[in-house]
Amino acid sequence: MAEQIVKAPMRGRVIRVHVEKGSQVKERDRMCDIEALKMEMPIMAPASGTIKEVYISAGQEIGGGDPLFVIES
């Protein structure tokens, strides 16, 4: 079992979160949508597995490198 921290790629804002603690995700599933530089972009699961932690909620401001999720696969 490997744990992976998914981090924010850049400074922005969380628009909506699609998963919660315990959700099963497949690789490339949309986990949340962020807005940066006036563009909406999805954060996709880097691997299949289970969401172990969700650190963010809709409307939250995030900085580059901030942890968003922990995936266990």
Partner: protein
């Protein structure tokens, strides 16, 4: 003397009807499809107003011996905003500069090269237009060729400015071509980008965030650029000067009210006047000629070649760069800001879901605006 009131119906030609339909289409695209609405809606309205006969709206003061009373509103806007003084597109640049964030470019100045490379589309379209003129297929002289070529810069106001100066009868058509192709960036660019890059190249990961850019750098950038560029290409001063001035308003931090006005009320007001005038500069008498279709075709070729040129330069930079470099961002050297950058961001994530190229893509994107302004200056100094 009392005349019998005339309806416009008798003077309505097929050309008028066609262009009214085009205007209606633009309004439809703007409202329903969200296709560049800030440009296409007023342009569409201007088209309709210009092609309803007998309105008197298009009478320019210079046509009636400077008698403003008998001139039409649109004629006045066209003559004083575009033809005689060409102020409207230049004032737009103040607003655009105030809206532009140069930080991604300041952080990686080499991205200027991509903004330059993408202007190759302008050169190709220029030669193409000259060729058509040379072989007698179209009446394209040097001035017309330059006006057509600048469409490849994918910059609406630059296109309007150059055309107003060099080939005013084509003003509306080149502007519409430029804005239409900017709206269709998401359709035009991806096939070209895919054709010129391999899947592996598209997957190349670049650090999403660039180095912090200091306030001092942000303030010095427009000032230094302005002075250097204008010394080298003086005729680019109207565009580059207004663009950098607007940017200085934004980054100085000392004139928040001016910056806010430039980004909002000012640019919106000028947009209303400019786009309405552009639409109105296309009555059927000027537009219904075979040259119009050639302009549209050449403009598209210019745009496509600009994309290709940028991507190829991107590949070159990928080969020589020590850090990872995704060649797709070269396509953003066409100054369709921020549409091009968004296209590349999307394509980047399709290839590699963790790749966020947006900030890197914005660098060449804003550099492209400067690049096309410089080319415009060069064309005007040679031909103007």
């Amino acid at each position: 003397m009392l005349g019998f009131p005339q309806t416009g119906l008798a003077d309505l030609t097929l050309g008028h009807v066609l262009l009214i339909c085009v205007g209606l289409t633009f309004i439809y695209l703007a409202i329903v499809k969200d296709f560049e609405p800030y440009e296409l809606l007023p342009i569409g309205m201007g088209l309709i107003l210009a092609n309803l006969p007998g309105t008197g709206l298009l009478v320019q003061p210079q046509e009636v011996g400077g008698e403003f009373g008998t001139a039409g509103l649109l004629g006045i806007l066209i003559e004083f905003g575009l033809l005689r003084y060409t102020v409207l597109p230049l004032l737009i640049f103040v607003g655009l500069g105030a809206l532009t964030d140069f930080a991604p470019l300041i952080a990686r100045p080499r991205l200027f090269l991509l903004g330059a490379a993408a202007q190759v589309g302008i050169i190709i379209a220029f030669l193409g237009a000259l060729a058509l003129g040379h072989f007698g297929i179209a009446e394209f002289g040097l001035e017309e060729a330059a006006a057509i070529a600048i469409i490849g810069g994918a910059d609406g106001p630059t296109t309007i400015y150059v055309t107003a100066r060099l080939a005013p009868e084509m003003m509306g058509i080149t502007a519409v071509a430029a804005y239409s192709y900017m709206a269709m960036v998401a359709i035009i660019q991806p096939p070209i980008i895919r054709a010129l890059t391999s899947k592996r190249e598209r997957e190349i990961y670049m650090e999403p965030e660039l180095r912090e850019v200091s306030k001092t750098e942000e303030i010095l950038f427009p000032i230094v650029c302005l002075i250097l560029i204008i010394l080298l290409v003086p005729r680019s001063a109207p565009i580059v000067g207004m663009f950098m001035f607007g940017n200085l308003l934004r980054v100085s931090g000392a004139v928040e009210r001016l910056s806010d006005t430039a980004q909002n009320a000012f640019i919106n007001s000028i947009t209303i006047l400019l786009m309405l005038s552009i639409g109105a500069s296309m009555p059927a008498e000027l537009v219904m000629r075979p040259e119009t279709l050639m302009v549209l075709a050449l403009g598209l070729i210019a745009f496509a070649c600009g994309t290709a040129g940028g991507v190829l330069m991107g590949k070159l930079m990928m080969l020589v760069s020590k850090e990872p470099f995704n060649p797709m961002i070269g396509a953003c050297g066409v100054s369709a800001v921020p549409m091009s950058a968004r296209v590349v961001q999307r394509m980047g994530q399709e290839a590699n879901p963790n790749n966020f190229l947006l900030m890197n893509a914005m660098g060449p994107n804003v550099a492209g605006v400067v690049g096309s302004a410089v080319i415009a200056g060069i064309l005007l100094s040679v031909l103007g």
